[in-house]
Each structure stands twice: as C-alpha cells, then as structure tokens.
Amino acid sequence: MIKTATLARYRVPPGVLMLGALVVIGVLVALVRYLFGIGAISNLNDAYPWGLWISFDLLCGVATAAGAFITASAVYIFRMERFRPILRPAILTGFLGYLMVIVALLVDLGRPERIWHLIIYWNPHSVLFEVGWCVMLYTTVLALEFSPMLFERLGWKMPLEFLHRITIVLVLLGTLLSTLHQSSLGSMFMAMPTKVNPLWFSQFLPLYFFLTAAAVGPAMVIVESYISSRVFWRGLEVDLLGELSKAIPILLGIYLLLKVFDITLAGEWGFAFQGGMSILFWVEILLGVVAPIVLFSMPSVRSDGKRMLVAALLVVFFGVVLNRFNVSLIGWPRPANLSMYLPNWMEFAITIGIWSAGIVAYGLVAKFLPLFAADHVVTPAKAVVTPEILQRSRFLVFPEAAWLQGLAAIAEQVNFDDNQLIFRQGEPARSLYVLLEGSVKLYSKDKEGKEVHTGTINAGEPFGISALIEPYILTASARTAAPCRALKIDGKALRDLTKENPALGQALAQRTAQAALTRMHWARAWRESM
C-alpha cells in the first residue's frame, strides 16, 4: 500500500516503470545464472563459447561508447570549443556504456568473482589482457571525467578545481586507452585465423575496429542527442552535430579503401560472391559504410536532424553492430555434430535488462545533474520554469501572476561550467538571460578591437539585454566566472509577449534601462581607475 502511494505521489512515468520491470527480469535471470550456471540461461555451448553478450554487449557496447573520447579529444586536444555543449552527454554515454559492458561481463565470465585476477595475474601475450586493463583504466578515467557533474551538483569546490586542473591529462589518457581498447577488440580475433570468415579476417582488424568505432562515436552522439532532445524536450544541436558528423565520411572512407585494398591483396574477392556470408558482407559494406559516406557528405543531410539520425543509425546497425556479429559469431564455421547457436530469450533478457538500466541511469543523471549545457539550442526548448523560480531575481519580480506565468512559459533554466563562453559580441541576441547563481563577466571590443572587461553580472541581474533592444545584436560577450545557473528567455517570444502585454513591456524596458545605465557607469569607473 505504502509503495503504491509513493509511486502515485512521484508519478513515475510508465516508460520508466517498464524499463524498471525489464531490469528486474534481467536481475532474476542473472540470479538463475549465478545459481545454476551459464548453461541454465543461455544456448552457449562448447562449440560456441562466446555469443550474444560478447558480440553485442562487449564489442558493440564498447564501440558505441566511442563518442566520449572522440568528443573529449575534439574539445580538449584540438580545442574545438564549439563542441563543448555535447561533451557532457557524450561522456555520460561513454561512462554508462562501459559500466554496462562490465555488468555484462560479470554475467558472461565463468568466474565473475575473480575478475580482479586480471590485476594480479598477467599474460602480456594475450590481447584480452590488454582489453581487461583498458576496460578497468578507461572506466576509471570516464568516472573522473563524469564526476564534475556530480561535484557541481553537490557544490564541492575542491575536487572540482582538482579535476579541472587534470582535465587535459585525463583526456590524453582517455584517448590513448580508447585507441588501444577499440583496436584491441579487433586484435582479439587475430588469434583465430581458422575461425573468423576470410572476408573479415585481416591483419588490419585492429585498425578496422578502431576506424569503425571512431565513426560510430559521432553517430551515437547524434542518435543519443536526437532521442534525448525528444525525451527531455530540449533543443537539438543540429549545427554542432552536423559539423561533428563531417568526420564520419572521412573515417569510413579510409576504412573502405583499406578494406578494398586488403581483400584485393589477399585475393579474397571470390568469397564476396559465394554463400550466405557474402550477402551479409554486402549489406554491411553498402548500407553500413557506403551509404553513410554518401549521406554525411551531403550538406542537406548534415543540416537536418532527422536525416542525420537515419544516416547515423545506418552506421550503428550495419556498419558496426552487423560487423561485430559477422566477425565474432555469424562468420564462424559451424562445427560438425554440434548444434547451431541462437541466443536464448534469457540471454536477451540480460542484455535488455542492462540496457534498460543504462537508459534509466541516463535519465536520472539528466534529471538531477547538470548534464546539458542548455545554451546551445537551435530549436526553442519547452519551458520548465515556474513563477517561483522567476521571482528569485529582482529583475523578474512582478505582482501580476499572469505576467509571471507568461514569462515562465518562455523561460528555461540553463547551467554553465566555469569559464564557459555564453555568447559573443556581434552575434544576434536570441535570448535574455537572468543569472540565478554564479557570476558572469562581460567583455566588449574597444576602438582598436581589443577585448575589454566591461562589467560583472552577479546573481539576480540580467544580461544579454540586447535581446530587448533593437537591432537585437549583442554588444558584449559573456563568459562565466564560476559555474552558473541562469534563466534563459527566448528573445523573440519575449518581444511577442510584450507586444501582447504592453504594461509588462514597459516594466521590463524600465528595468532593462536601469541595468544598462548601471553597467555603463560601472564600465566608465573601471576604465578610469586603470
């Protein structure tokens, strides 16, 4: 009874309840496995020691987690600051992805209680030794890269500062470990020249696995951004994703050329035209490699969320998932007098349970931790702001409830890291901001084009007020001086609102003028004190 009441009060969405049920089923099946053995829940057998969990949960799981290191290296190594808004979701996907891989391994390993043996017993000839170490180390790196979200939420400054200082080290290590790990999953199958189908067996397997993982990284970021934009009612960073996706044709192009070269050199084209595997080969190459190369080369695809999603799904399912299955399972010779392997429903239950848990975890993080740098939104975001929140700022305290409701409907809450650029001078002023927590510095260019500090915004004060003043072009750049939380009000919607409600417009105009005046005096005082 109590449980039902609690559930009713918190109104857990039905989707989450369903995911929860799937997790419970997975846990129960895992329990059977731990009690009665892997054979009790799977069709794995002595001829098929590896099945769904290795092909999908491990190989595909790790590949699809590649978005984390791709995005992190873009932002921190190549200084492509513009990708920062999608960094945190990508890191979270990677971190959860690796945790999911570990959980799957804890089911698949014959002796999960001995997984730590990897630390004390070494065999440097074994590729799996390298894989094991990469999983352990990279999961640690991902945990550290993820932890700022937690510390920000908790308001712990010390660890935040420390992590901020070692970020570049973490990213370098993460990129190194990812490169090793992605490729080593391919190397694993180089030990099986008699089993892996000749169309897939190659001395380039490590490179193939790395290239396809590097290509599926951005593709997964697109898929995951698209889904979360729907689920959490946030905008889709179409421009950023379009730019990120430019890497896909390059990576897949290199992969395709290498593969053609490799098969030609080995004289194995004959295999591409005989038997069932040849069909899978062409499906994989045409749908998973050639089609995405063509699609992502087209600007009309890169500027459209839905088209990018379709192209990204092709990479994910045909370029990577099908590929990993072909290499590790489907392409293997069927042993004489032993049964064919098809996964048992309970094997699927484990995999589905793990993915459901991952999705729930993602949702929880998105709900409770500062995951989305909500500044970068191209489509208008749905409001999640209440009148009470508005009134935290004096700038937005109005006696009229209707005004507040109108404002709340077009406002949203956004979070920023420390030292993050919010907007730039000269850009169109799309939104008005009101700072709730933290501190923001404004900079303007002087006559010689030099950047000058022209003001500091403290909690409660508005900025980006150019959104209310014609010609709606920003006259300053804003950069956070601490982790910030702000209200963001869509400029166009606000102007429409003031047209409908001139009294509100007048009140806002007056407060804006006050803020502008104060700022002007401040800037002059600063100038003269120099």
Partner: protein, 276 residues
C-alpha cells in the same frame, strides 16, 4: 628435460574406447547420460566430463565404406593458442610437453575455447557460482608423468595405437612407419608442423581432414595477435606523445593570440578571433 609426446597410429586403433574409459577413471570424471545420435561416437563430443573421445568415422573409400577412428583430445601444442590468449596466464606449457591449467587463476572468459584451433578446452556450463565453473581438458596426465608413469590412455591401449615417448623420437618412428608401409599411410605426420607443432602426433590411412582434423599451416595461429601485443606498448608511447604534442600545439596557437591582462581566458577561441 625430455619433451614428451604421443604418437597415435589410427590404423592400429580398434575403437575399443579403452583409452576413453581409462581417462575417465584416472581423472575421476563422471559418466555422461547420452542419446543415440546415429553415430557410434559416444558421448557425441568432448565436454568438461569427457576429455578423451574416440570418434567413429564412416568414410567412403572408392565405393567401399570403412570405419576409421580418431582419438580426440588435447594436442598439447608446442606453441599453444590457449596459453597465448589466456589473459590471466591460467594455462601453461610445461617443458615436458603437457599444457596444464591452473584452477585457481581462471576467470572463465573462455578465450581459450574460442582460440584453440582444435576446439579442445571445454567449460562447465552447468555450474553456478557455488560449484565454481572451470575450463576442462586433457592434461596429458601431467600428474602421472611427474611420478614416472605414462598417460592413462597410452598405458591402457591394447592395440598399441598410442605410443608414449620423446617427441623427437616419435617423429622418427612415425616417419619410419610411413616409409615401411607407404601404401598403408597417408604420407604425413599430423602434428609434426601443424600450428607450430603439437605433442600429439597422428598417423592415418585416410586424409586427416576426412578424420576431422583441421588443415593448419606451420605457423602458430596466434602469431599475428602476439605480434600486435609486442607492438602495443611502443605504439602506446608514440601515440601518447603525439596526442600530447597535438594538444600542446593547439594550446600554443591560442596562447599566441592571447590578450594580456584583462579579457577572456587564454584558452578561448573567441579571444583568438578578437585579436585578428
């Protein structure tokens, strides 16, 4: 120390399964409940409870079907794939020949099963956490060898199909038998070179592939994967240095355009633009 092997002359095998039983007896392995599969081979394949198995092959030789046998068990490779791929080093090739397994190290990843070109290591599929599932396979009776006894299967074989001895001498013996009876044998000692050589050597009257032994080149199957592992650390060093270098270059490019004193932080692309 002498490196041991076993020469299995399949032309001498009568299919009595004495070795199969002796193996179970010495290693305390339970019997398996089986069904009629239409073949004399019983149990139908090797398993965690059956480490040594006589496989019965009906092979058509020019219109006449003959019964041929294959004693299937671990080959105890000179360069074993299972030993090479085991991430925790639970499998080990001893100098005397046997490939042995450490119950206490294994994590149950089953890479050995996937990698073995002969499909030998088997797994306890029906054991939960409490029973503790393990990889099982023929041990070449390493425990008997270290006590001066020969493997149980060789000891028991009534038709002398299994000869235990030093591997080098067994190869000489095998080649002698072929030379003396070239019509009786296929002119090949299986295991002399396959996958880098194996401790178990076979002689046969029919092609080995028809018996069910895989066609393998002279290189160990793990040659490529071991090469990759050798290159990994040097590659990691070079790659890390390259990445660090790139990071430094990109940071420096921004620093070069830095505004002194006030202004946005040094690592700001915006700043770079501003100073152009």
């Amino acid at each position: 120390m002498a490196k041991y092997g076993m020469l299995i002359d399949e032309t001498r095998c009568t299919g009595c399964r004495g070795c199969q039983v002796a193996c179970k007896q010495w290693n305390d392995l339970p019997g398996e409940e089986t069904h009629n599969t239409g073949s004399y081979t019983n149990p139908p394949h090797l398993s965690a409870q059956t480490w040594n198995l006589i496989e019965y092959k009906e092979i058509d030789r020019g219109g006449q079907v003959g019964f041929f046998f294959l004693k299937r068990a671990c080959m105890h490779c000179e360069h074993p794939a299972c030993v090479s791929v085991c991430p925790v080093g639970a499998l080990r090739k001893t100098p005397e020949g046997p490939v042995v397994y450490d119950d206490h190290k294994c994590i149950g990843c089953r890479y050995c099963m996937a990698a073995c070109p002969f499909g030998i290591p088997k797994f306890d599929w029906q054991k939960g956490l409490l029973e503790g599932a393990l990889i099982r396979k023929c041990t070449f009776c390493a425990d008997r060898l270290s006590n001066g006894l020969i493997p149980a299967c060789a000891k028991t074989c009534p038709s002398k199909a299994i000869t235990f001895g030093e591997r080098d001498q067994l190869i000489v013996e095998a080649e002698n038998r072929i030379r003396k009876n070239p019509d009786k044998y296929v002119n090949h000692v299986y295991g002399k070179e396959e996958a880098g050589g194996t401790s178990i050597l076979y002689l046969s009257a029919v092609p080995f592939e028809q018996l069910g032994l895989p066609k393998l080149g002279p290189a160990p199957v793990t040659t490529l994967s071991e090469q990759v592992m050798e290159y990994t650390l040097p590659f990691a060093g070079v790659w890390l240095a390259t990445l660090a270098g790139l990071a430094a270059v990109f940071k420096f490019r921004e620093r070069g355009a830095k505004q002194p004193e006030i202004g946005p932080a040094a690592d700001d692309p915006h700043n770079k633009e501003a100073s152009k």
